[in-house]
């Protein structure tokens, strides 16, 4: 597998009146060509800040990348000048945002917005860029693209707008696509269309995808590797298969247990009469507990979890966990996901 992007110990903080908030506190992961990494976590865990850091789009002030490296093609993206970064952004690394309604400019036609990126990064004439824009719309499955190119965003439905966003992101054949909750604002049937489209395009173009989502179902269907984040830190990292079969961190287990199971679940799980939520709420980043950040919500908490923060350990090759109690082998802690 060819490594395309390496995130090493990334730290992004926001400096507010009440002090420093470490939104992303030392996270590391890699992206490989043609593969998808899913970043999972709840609101405020730092997953979107991670993606914005990679794009160097953190609003500064108050935000600042205070440490770490983002290595792409031998360069550290954090060392690049604004001009150099601009050449990469939208060209080699591009991004799709959650809200297709708010991330398109309402006063320009979609053709105009598509051509902007193409003209900026590619050596094409205006008519050439226009042809390319039509081609991209066709690629993402928009019917009669020659006509649609003259439409304004409000004339399109949510799913169509997200397709336009994807077309825009892919128009310069990026090596890396950062997709921040690309289907969260969409309905299930449209979500299925968009995920299918991303999968097809990945096969065709071979780009690496970093998919940020809170939906474990979406991750299971698209990601090859999964990074679970909690309060700014990676708490578990493994292949998708391993994470879902053998979740080791109590938080990952808790997330999996909170989802209702269908009565006729095709994978043979047994329907629960009662959901098992994770008690409590995400800790305040200003006032983190000493030691493990999950301790207040964890049902396996012990004295040794308080005081010193656990390291991210490699339990078995490729499976990293930040929990002192996690052990290799099948379910050291009772994994309560029932399987038929």
């Amino acid at each position: 597998m060819e490594k395309i992007l390496e995130v090493q110990n990334l730290q992004t903080s926001f400096f507010t009146e009440s002090g420093e908030v470490r939104a992303v506190d030392g996270i590391s992961f890699d992206l490989y060509k043609g593969k998808t990494v899913g970043i999972v976590g709840e609101s405020g865990c730092g997953k979107s800040v991670t993606s914005l850091s990679i794009m160097r789009l953190i609003p500064s002030p108050p935000g600042k990348i205070v440490g770490g490296k983002i290595l792409y093609a031998g360069k550290n993206l954090l060392d690049l000048s604004i001009g150099q970064m601009r050449k990469i952004r939208g060209n080699e690394i591009s991004m799709i945002f959650q809200e297709p309604m708010t991330s398109l400019n309402p006063v320009f036609t979609i053709g105009n917005q598509l051509m902007e990126a193409i003209l900026l990064h590619q050596d094409l004439s205006k008519s050439g860029a226009r042809d390319k824009a039509v081609e991209m719309l066709k690629l993402v499955g928009i019917p009669s693209p020659e006509k649609r190119i003259q439409d304004y965003p409000h004339q399109l439905s949510g799913g169509m707008r997200q397709r336009v966003m994807i077309a825009m992101a892919l128009s310069c054949n990026p090596q890396i696509l950062v997709a921040d909750e690309p289907t969260t604002a969409l309905d299930v049937t449209i979500q299925a269309q968009i995920l299918e489209l991303l999968r097809e395009l990945q096969e065709k173009v071979g780009m690496a995808i970093m998919l940020i989502t809170h939906d474990l179902g979406v991750v299971a269907e698209t990601a090859h590797e999964v990074v679970v984040m909690y309060a700014g830190k990676v708490v578990e990292r493994a292949t998708a298969e391993e994470i879902f079969k053998n979740p080791k961190h109590p938080y990952t287990q808790g997330l999996l247990n909170s989802i209702p199971v269908l009565s006729k679940d095709p994978t043979g799980k047994i329907k629960k009469t009662r959901l098992e939520p994770i008690p409590g709420i995400v800790p305040n980043l200003f006032d983190l507990p000493k030691g493990c950040r999950f301790q207040e919500r964890c049902k396996y908490v012990e004295d040794r979890c308080r005081g010193v923060e656990p390291e991210l350990r490699e339990l078995v090759p490729g499976h990293w966990v930040r929990c002192v109690k996690a052990e290799a082998g099948d379910s050291a802690m009772a994994v309560t996901v029932s399987r038929g």
Partner: protein, 340 residues
């Protein structure tokens, strides 16, 4: 439709409910068209059950919920509550009746007044319906409400912004419970919450239901949550109920092509599971000018000539089950002509 059940008491009967929103245009401001948000919907809600209402955005499920409470005035039809058509009641009687019928909204951030303390928020319905004659009574009832939804007594003097999303939704639930209702419309109560918190709220709603003998109309687009909490489920598409059955029955033996597509689009949290997904083509048509015949036919993989002529009636399928479907070709099993 739904015949009167002898064992169960019908609490609310919705009959041929229609809601059209006029679109005014031209210099005279005449009605030029209308959005058919709810067209000819009928169903019963039995005492003590949860009726789940699913469908994609814009299918009219929220409008329907609000029409039942007369928060939106329906265009025509009947809503019979304990034998009385509430649509004919004068405003003053309706106001009294609202004690028995309450609603919980989707967005706990927008549905609480930021300038009111929790005591004000929970005390207001008590004052309006004169349920707490003395100050001590009022305090006692508010404390009891907080206890019911699992919030601390000290919360009374705090403001909504001091609470997390899940806690705010608990406040909204407490507010709805303040007047001791029998029936609550839950309009996407967990959609804005994180997965681990969703499970907390779903459990709370279930506990309250059994403790206080509540009846719910549970509106959501998350099919897994709806199955988990509902006794029966109605599927809506473009203002019409297209399928209606007991939850287990509907999820294990869907007969309408739209229901099948919806169910197949649910992402399953298991990477090893690859299913034959029915990917629907296109988007939901505009409710301003729905297609002729069955509203679903332009996207339906098995549509035939007669589907384009007339909307199929909601009729019983699968004898022995209370299961109704609005499709000429309603049957179990895979769709015969699946679209790639």
């Amino acid at each position: 439709m739904a015949e009167v059940n002898n064992q169960k008491e019908v609490l609310i009967s919705v009959r041929n409910l229609v809601k059209r929103f006029p679109i005014k245009g031209g210099i005279l401001g005449r009605e030029v068209a209308s959005v058919k948000a709810v067209s000819d919907v009928s169903f019963n809600i039995f005492r003590g059950e949860t009726l789940g209402l699913v469908g994609e955005s814009g299918c009219g499920k929220s409008t329907l919920g609000r029409c039942i409470l007369r928060l939106i005035e329906p265009t025509s039809g009947e809503v019979v509550y304990k034998g009385k058509d509430i649509l004919k009641l004068p405003a003053s009687d309706m106001r009294k009746l609202r004690r028995s019928m309450q609603i919980i909204f989707q967005d706990p951030f927008a549905s609480l007044n930021p300038r009111m303390t929790i005591e004000d928020i929970l005390g207001e319905p008590l004052d309006i319906h004169e349920l707490a004659p003395t100050k001590a009574d009022r305090r006692k009832r508010i404390n009891h409400l907080l206890d019911l939804v699992g919030l601390r007594k000290e919360s009374v003097s705090r403001y909504p912004h001091e609470f997390s999303g899940g806690q705010r939704q608990r406040i909204c639930i407490a507010r709805a419970l303040a007047v001791e209702p029998e029936f609550i419309v839950c309009d996407e109560p967990v959609s804005a919450l994180d997965v681990s918190i969703q499970a907390q709220i779903v459990n709370l709603l279930q506990d309250l239901q059994s403790e206080l003998k509540l009846t719910y109309l549970f509106i959501a687009h998350d099919l897994k949550v709806v199955e988990h909490i509902s006794t029966r489920v109605a599927v809506m598409y473009l203002g019409k109920v297209v399928e209606y059955a007991e939850a287990d029955e509907l999820y294990s033996h869907p007969t309408h092509p739209y229901t099948k597509a919806l169910l197949s689009a649910i992402p399953i949290p298991d990477p090893n599971y690859r299913k034959d997904r029915i990917i629907l083509q296109g988007d939901v048509p505009s409710p301003i000018s729905p297609p002729r015949g069955c509203y679903f036919h332009p996207r339906c993989p098995i549509a035939q000539e007669n589907c384009k002529q007339e909307f199929p009636p909601l009729i019983g399928v699968r004898p022995g089950h209370q299961h109704e479907s609005a499709c000429y070709y309603a049957k179990e099993g895979p769709l015969v002509r699946t679209v790639k």
